[in-house]
Amino acid sequence: MNEIAPKPGIKGIVKKLSDVRETSLLMIIILCAVILTFTNEFFFTTANLQTVLGSISINGILTIGMIVVMITGGLDLSVGSVMCMSMAFAAQAILSGVPPLLACLIGIAASALSGLLIGLVVTKLKLSHFIVTLCFMGIYRGVVYVMTAGKSISLVSTLKDMPKLAFLGSGYIGSYIPFTFVIFALLAVAADLYARRSTRMRKLYYTGSNELAAGHSGINTDRVKIGACVACSTLAGVAGIIYMSKYSGVSTSAGTGLEMTALSAAVIGGVSMNGGKGTVAGGLLGLLFIVLIQDAMNLFSVQAFWQDLIRYVIVLLAVILDVVQETARKKKNS
């Protein structure tokens, strides 16, 4: 969503780019990376970069889903739990002899259904995303506990016989790039283009920008919102399958807290909590920024107790920046 009028010439393009949140964020990220390269000998090593790319992938897929829901003016706190539920279903299926591909589809289908349920409750009962997904965060986590009787499921030995599924989470392309990152990158590019170009995503923006006006324009806003919830949960399900493959099993606490990572990434990337604003690219750059900061803290051995504190201070600053910009703009225009 471009915010400004185009002006002819290179100056216009520069001006346009400089007004977009993505550009400034990208600059900051590059700056951080450069500083890290010169101040820490471990940063620009294959191992470290692989860690960064790896940790971006699963979180990134969750973040895409979160952005989609946020564009409609909602949010989804259940993504971590849904992700865990997806792998629990898939793992159970695999252990009971279902072919791996079908098992994964079962896990993803379960996530899609859980998203449908959330969407229906939110729209038909007119409840807020916050309270509904907060409850489902607990409910779906509970489903995992019940299914697994609270024990972790190990697939270490099983995955040895399933090379394709094992490759999904731990394979490398050209022996350097994690396969998970390739999947994520493809999804990200597709999602970003889809968000900019497609009619369906445009309806999401309309709904998030002004639901009443969208309804008056003949858009079925309930369906749009349900669709966003399903998309978000389905993506969480996909992330779950990758997670399961990467860590060769299911821990009942997998995905805990990831909803906050996704949410903060989106907010830092300029996705508005009020809906109608933000891009997939922006939200994912936000995630990259978070991951970099996290990595830097690890490289400089910042104590773990400090890490959360620092991360959320950054999120708060991003939100404050947003509000300040917004009020400045409204003042200018009125």
Partner: protein, 512 residues
């Protein structure tokens, strides 16, 4: 000595002057009505008296002393109380807590028992039916809530009471009770300013009446010495001061040209009754009535945004009552929403995205928006509507009100409709944009589109419409006018209840 005297009060909002040297005097112990068309300046004047607005010029005297009212607190300390048209009570709190809300805040602690006793003292003389001070406001009928609202206003040593359309949400019996209460207050020497459109209220309840028109105080009369006709003339009489496009020359109002046929439309909530009218192809049909007469509600009823009790709407040969709004819009009957910011525009999106919102399926191929078509369509709309902007990428919030309204019109008309309903299309729009919207409306009719225009502005109705349905305060069509009959006197006579009031008086005299 006058309780309140205003001398030469003037007020402008930006370049728009709304009050021109208004003089006004209120005696203690009188009920003084203020009448005037929508937008005549009544509420601005009252907001100045109550300290909500500062006048640009003029003087205010309270009990003969020159006073400056800079803040609502000043007004309250001077004993000025304002009861607004809408009830603004804390619905979950008790009656007593509501009445003394402003005093509860201080100190943090209060004793509900003493408050209730004090509340009872104020409430008992106000109403013949006692109101329990411990009752939760939500559980009271509207009329009792209004009593609480007034009790709250006068709890603070009230000398001047301003009532804004107090009977608009009340039934006959409830209004009667309210009037008894006002008379009791008058006997205690309180001066009451009574804003109303209802002729019966004015003639039966008030002592004097002042008429505001376009920000000028036209006249003040003793109610016993003035006729209904005189008040109507004072409220309306004025020249059309704007140029409007030429009206339709040869309209054929025949059976074969009927594009919309509304029969016996009845609102489920009782805001309008027995609405019958026909819309012919290529005409601009106006709906005139005072604020709250039910004009917008009728339109919402037609397009399925409001629950109906009965009646039918024939469009394209079938009854569309009960159809979904989206389907009605899709079939070619569209409505421009009344509140552009709430129901119409995506303020934080750009002109292009706003314009194509109703047109998505036409510019979509395989689920992907054709950007070239999107740009072309928007560009042609920008040119046709003469939207002043840097480009189609400009965010709508940053446009002026008039240009925002043009974007909304463009959005509504993106798909070419058969019938357009426009509810207040030029509200809050500057003169230039207004003329452009008027021209566009007329151009549409030349293309065979039929228009229903709802407007509170008498001038606009007179200047634009080929035919006008007049609605009175009870939500019924009392008269249809066309041609030379479309003039301010006639319209004001019917919509202000003057017609109904004279009729009922006639009936009374016949019965006698």
């Amino acid at each position: 000595m006058n309780a309140l005297e205003l001398k030469g009060i003037s007020k402008s909002f930006g370049r728009n002057q709304v009050l021109f040297g208004v003089d006004f005097a209120l005696r203690p112990g009188e009920i003084h009505a203020i009448m005037g068309e929508n937008g005549a300046g009544k509420s601005t004047l009252m907001n100045i008296v109550y300290g909500n607005l500062k006048p640009d010029g003029g003087e205010i005297y309270i009990n003969g002393q020159k006073t400056a009212i800079n803040h609502v607190l000043d007004a309250q300390n001077l004993g000025i109380c304002f009861v607004h048209q809408e009830i603004a009570l804390c619905q979950d709190a008790t009656v007593a807590e509501n009445i003394f809300m402003s005093q509860i805040g201080r100190g943090g602690k209060y004793n509900l028992k003493t408050l209730a006793a004090k509340a009872k003292e104020i409430l008992d003389p106000l109403s013949s039916k006692p109101i329990d001070p411990y009752e939760i406001v939500e559980r009271l009928p509207i009329s009792s809530q209004q009593v609480v609202e007034i009790a709250k206003a006068i709890s603070n040593n009230c000398r001047i009471l301003i009532l804004d359309e107090p009977t608009s949400s009340l039934s006959g019996a409830e209004a009667e009770a309210l009037h008894q209460m006002i008379h009791r207050l008058r006997e205690n020497g309180i001066g009451i300013i009574y804003i109303s459109h209802r002729m019966s209220d004015i003639f039966e309840q008030c002592d004097r009446v002042s008429v505001l028109r376009d920000g000028h105080m036209v006249a003040t009369y003793n109610v016993s010495e003035v006729s209904v006709q005189q008040l109507v003339n004072d409220m309306a009489g004025r020249e059309v001061d704007m140029l409007y496009p030429e009206k339709a020359a040869d309209l054929h109002r025949e059976e074969s040209n009927v594009v919309l046929d509304v029969r016996g439309l009845e609102d489920a909530a009782g805001k309008f009754h027995e609405i019958n009218f026909r819309l012919y192809q290529g005409e601009v049909l106006g709906f005139a009535g005072l604020l709250g007469a039910g004009r917008s509600e009728i339109m919402k009823g037609i397009v399925g945004l409001r629950k109906l009790k009965g009646g039918e709407v024939l469009f394209q040969g079938k009854n569309i009552v009960g159809m979904r709004t989206k389907d009605i819009f899709d079939s070619g009957l569209v409505m421009l929403p009344e509140d552009r910011k709430k129901q119409g525009l995506f303020l934080d999106m750009n002109i292009r995205q706003n314009t194509v919102a109703t047109y998505l399926s036409e510019i979509t191929k395989n689920g992907i928006i054709d950007r070239k078509k999107e740009r072309e369509l928007t560009q042609s709309r920008i040119e046709r509507m003469n939207i002043r902007c840097v480009g189609s990428d400009q965010i709508v919030r940053s446009l002026s009100g008039g240009n925002q309204q043009k974007v909304l019109v463009a959005k509504t008309l993106a798909k070419k409709p058969e019938i357009v309903i426009m509810d207040e299309p030029t509200r809050g729009v500057d003169v230039g944009a207004k003329a452009e919207i008027h021209r566009l409306l007329r151009d549409l009719t030349h293309e065979g589109v039929s228009v229903i225009l709802v407007s509170s502005e008498l001038n606009e109705v007179i200047g634009m419409c080929d035919r006008v349905e007049l609605i009175d305060g009870s939500g019924t069509i009392v008269k249809e006018v066309l041609g030379d009959e479309i003039n301010s006197d006639t319209i004001m006579y019917y919509i202000s209840d003057a017609y109904r009031y004279e009729q009922s008086n006639r009936e009374v005299s016949i019965n006698e």
